[in-house]
Symmetry: D2
Subunit: 392 residues, 4 copies
Amino acid sequence: MTSRIDDLTARTRAFIDEHVIPVEDKSDGDIAAAGGEPVRTSLQALARSAGVFAPHAPTAYGGMGLNMVDRAPIFEAAGRSLFGPMALGINAPDEGNLHLLDQVASDAQRARYLAPLADGTVRSAFAMTEPPPGAGSDPSALLTAAVPTGDGWVINGRKKFITGADGAGFLIVMARTSGGATMFLVPADRPGIGLVRHVTTMDKSMLGGHCELSFDAVRVDAADVLGEVDQGFRYAQVRLGPARLTHVMRWLGAAQRAHETAVAYVSGRSAFGSPLARQGMVELMIADNEIDLAATRSLLLTACRVLDAGGPGREETSLAKVFGAEALHRVADRAVQMCGGAGVSADLPVARIAREIRPFRIYDGPSEVHRMSLARRAVRRYGDSCRTPGGQ
Amino acid sequence: MTSRIDDLTARTRAFIDEHVIPVEDKSDGDIAAAGGEPVRTSLQALARSAGVFAPHAPTAYGGMGLNMVDRAPIFEAAGRSLFGPMALGINAPDEGNLHLLDQVASDAQRARYLAPLADGTVRSAFAMTEPPPGAGSDPSALLTAAVPTGDGWVINGRKKFITGADGAGFLIVMARTSGGATMFLVPADRPGIGLVRHVTTMDKSMLGGHCELSFDAVRVDAADVLGEVDQGFRYAQVRLGPARLTHVMRWLGAAQRAHETAVAYVSGRSAFGSPLARQGMVELMIADNEIDLAATRSLLLTACRVLDAGGPGREETSLAKVFGAEALHRVADRAVQMCGGAGVSADLPVARIAREIRPFRIYDGPSEVHRMSLARRAVRRYGDSCRTPGGQ
Amino acid sequence: MTSRIDDLTARTRAFIDEHVIPVEDKSDGDIAAAGGEPVRTSLQALARSAGVFAPHAPTAYGGMGLNMVDRAPIFEAAGRSLFGPMALGINAPDEGNLHLLDQVASDAQRARYLAPLADGTVRSAFAMTEPPPGAGSDPSALLTAAVPTGDGWVINGRKKFITGADGAGFLIVMARTSGGATMFLVPADRPGIGLVRHVTTMDKSMLGGHCELSFDAVRVDAADVLGEVDQGFRYAQVRLGPARLTHVMRWLGAAQRAHETAVAYVSGRSAFGSPLARQGMVELMIADNEIDLAATRSLLLTACRVLDAGGPGREETSLAKVFGAEALHRVADRAVQMCGGAGVSADLPVARIAREIRPFRIYDGPSEVHRMSLARRAVRRYGDSCRTPGGQ
Amino acid sequence: MTSRIDDLTARTRAFIDEHVIPVEDKSDGDIAAAGGEPVRTSLQALARSAGVFAPHAPTAYGGMGLNMVDRAPIFEAAGRSLFGPMALGINAPDEGNLHLLDQVASDAQRARYLAPLADGTVRSAFAMTEPPPGAGSDPSALLTAAVPTGDGWVINGRKKFITGADGAGFLIVMARTSGGATMFLVPADRPGIGLVRHVTTMDKSMLGGHCELSFDAVRVDAADVLGEVDQGFRYAQVRLGPARLTHVMRWLGAAQRAHETAVAYVSGRSAFGSPLARQGMVELMIADNEIDLAATRSLLLTACRVLDAGGPGREETSLAKVFGAEALHRVADRAVQMCGGAGVSADLPVARIAREIRPFRIYDGPSEVHRMSLARRAVRRYGDSCRTPGGQ
């Protein structure tokens, strides 16, 4: 099994190096500048030929059905290029949406939504976040509402930062319902859905952008309720745990590439009479990168094992996400610093990798919210059972 | 005097708010997208009308002749907009070049180069940095060479990261000469100067870009040697001390604006049942910003006082530069984090300010080189005079 | 004036080196192990002879009457030894108490309490902090209460961490009164005052320890109310601003000594084939120490100038305190690291300096409380006046 | 198997709570103040009765023969008390020495040295470090020398920071021999061994102290060469890998206890009108502790798995050591901060835990040396194989 994964990792990496990185480098990692949707189509075709497409999808849908532990090295190899996950069909939000559908969708929904998502025929989006004062860091502030009509539902509201929405075939929309929140599968061409604008963000590699959407009396069929009514927040958790980890896997690949680029850069240069790579302040940055990468990988695999064993892993995924988001940006930032002037330029991939990773400290739950949640768990665990001698 | 400076600061800030920030906001701080050279011309005309133009230039050349301590609040006010320094004619590298000319240039050179630079008729560039293995962090690696001919000099070499070179009226070129290095004043249209390319960098606000230039047998008149032959490294120090401080002043303004934007942002929003601005983790970021801004300002003014008193201030300018470059980027980065999704978008100026400040940890001497120099001074100071009891 | 201060600084430093440091080194900075009260008496006599005693006290009381800016280098020189401030009579809490009395006390109180404090005849303590749930980080939780009787007051309550209480001649006691809080001057031998215990703490250099005290129906004369009834919280602020700064001055001296010790240590040693002092990771620690020391000094002097100009300087003293407490401990910690095994031993003063400075992040307001206060000021300043374009 | 380890962990923790922590608390973690050797004897007897003694020793010698992965939770549970590892016989340096003997010793040496070490009859020391300019961070600077005589060896030299030497039954002495370095088993009562002094250090919990020793013509039998002549540096690596990890395990327990103490402390208190445990800046410290503890545990287990699989794990043990030493001290330092005044006192164990963990950033290889080694490995790995596009 391990050798199968090792082999797939090696082939994935070779595919990324040969086919994907050149496209990224030419466009400085800006998917729109690179050509957008046609780039996805052609790269996915190449990935399919190379036998590296859809490692995450259920085998019934043409994928490889890998568990979380086995995904880790493959996703990391794909993440070495900012366009690598898209090339393999394992980019956010499609990869998380596929997982959610596989857990919750009905047979009809699987045929209509999951199957074309798994084979790359369509892209998807996950419409939960809203402009303030709606759902953001605090999902319970959800304002978009769905009300039942005779034969279905009508959705009204506004969504923001909906990654990949422009060009998506369908959306998973989270809306308030009488007893909580509900998820709906909504074809993107449904009347009443408006693309207000692309939000311009520092990251440029996500196909379909980060969109602001309006929902004006959008009708949804009863059959397109995903799972049960009022269970939306629960399903969001089902989606979030693994989605956080696959984010970490992908960004780990990007940070690892930034690190290797920087080490190679300093290896070939000298200043003040000695090789850069042997100067202590540079060695410190190299070592700190090694430490941050290793600690991220360790926390990631710890969490993967919990999920593979069937656990919810709320705490473990939170730990891997919050540490990874910060550590991997530190890695990329040090890589920039090590490369000096070249590091802030588009001549090397390091500046663009730093730019793309930075928002991960905010996306999928800001570090502050994860920390609040980790702290509250610790207080529940240690707050009562321990005595504090002498502290009065 | 103080009230004159307070008044000028207030008028500068009002000018920036009214005339400059709208131009920056519309273009996300990308000067090329904003329109380039014509934007400079029109903003400088407005600044002249508003009586805020050229606070740094000698009064003999139409400026206000402010010393370093008085420049600090004015440059900070200008720096609130990424285009503000350009609007006032105090952007890098023009401002540092003007200072250098004022210290070193002959009368004829003052008339030909300093005067039009002071009144905004032309822009300039400072051509010192070279592609590896030439002069970079370590200026002594200088490869570009000037050799005397009958009536002047001929320069051959290559330069990189030459800010503002595209469109500059003249360049100050540092070249190796037999006894060290020499600075030359070179009109930009001189034959043999090639614009190899614009280096694409993460920062976008500098008019004229960061250019790679080739010098192929470029002839320079004997009268265009700046100061004395072989004294280039000494003049580079003359330029660098104040140039570092004015960099800090300008970026202080940008970081201060990012901070104020973030504080205003969190003041109006709530999550998890309480105002963001009263949540401890947000208060921590606000306070750390206040601390970083105050410490930068204190170190800056300490160094300004040394320069105004005639000192070289090598150590004080290094301290202000290395601390400021790191602290101000931390401020901008925290501002991004406080603003959440909006923080990584172009809807607010914080992401763009973070992007523009980041290279300052590399430009004008990487943090590592400043630290090496600070450490070696400390070792000279404390290495011999102190006994270490008991340490054997 | 400056040369007078330079001279006094030099003489203070020479005095500390010659007379105080040997006593500290022999006892690893533990004042009880060094001999306690008699050590104070003899060192103060020597300081008086050397003309360096009581630089802070009003000239009317035999001191030098220095303002805050002039105190800074003197107190720093004294702080080089953990026993230095005690030797000069400028240790906490005496120095802050003297300042408070000078601002608030009546003529009779000045004669009875201030005069003997200024000349070192007695020591004093400041009894504000209480065991939980009383006054700690949050002074408004004050539980100790004073109620008026016919001819004075009766105090009941409990105090904790009362520095110097054991052996003090009098206490300044903060107690709740009907309209707020009131300060009382209380001779230490007044019946009802109990020394519950010395709280064992990581710092060992404070004469009289950190005591827990009980007040059981302690009678105070009406004439011993300090200032006006119910104005205790206001006077606490009068005391706190300068007291914070003199803390920073003293710890600056200790951290500076740790730094110099470490630089001297690494200057004389080699490992892996090169001098320690030229290895990049060591240079980084040296440079970061230089930066932290310089930034602390800059923030300190900025705040001193505000106080000398008559300002309350709440924000400036808070900035200097919170930054200084953290930066100076970092300096001492890096000094420990630079000295390796010797650094964690009593052979060098660095470990003991780190141990003594650490509590300063908690004493005189924990960093968290200062940050909360800094953040709230920033929110008041920037929260309303700024618009946040586009952030919705 | 897991349930056996879970059970042993639970029993170990219960034993530590009941029998060991009271002894530690009474003496503020100072083993000399607690009573020294008799405390060891009585606690080890109790541990034997409780069935928790010697989990690491080979079963042939009465131990439990646990591998590294299984040791981790047991050693962590023991480490909750500073005296816990001593009580179980798994303290440094005995535990590492036992491992080394088990790998290298002859049958006669096993009977004479390993057996009494395993059952707690004697203690041992590992004499490698020397005073400058001898072996320290850089072992190759070894100065102590052994020369062959007719029937054995004669050792001359000086050692420093030899933990546990005072009272040890035997020493493992590293000495230079003609072809490198050799390890010798030396009974502690051998003539010529002098106890120069106890080095006073910030940590106080190690029985037998950190000693400076002199070796003046100390004779060693040929049969007491450990392993082969000239293989000392190789054996030092055999010892160091697992020794680093068991250090991390033990300190993990101490840091975990500090964290739990602090969480319990803040859970019961309020300030400024809200519970401390719900204030954001406190939650941040709690969460950062959780992150540091989890990341240390993950890196530790990753390295344990490599060693259990027979790998040398140089890189993995280095990563776990350098990250753990820094992270665990951060945890203890935050615990101090959370507990405020009580945190710097002996009323709670947090200050003493911080004090004991701090030297771990220096002992067993300073962080700087581990980082240098990690960096050089990375340069070997990535320095050649990668191209750096565009960086010239």
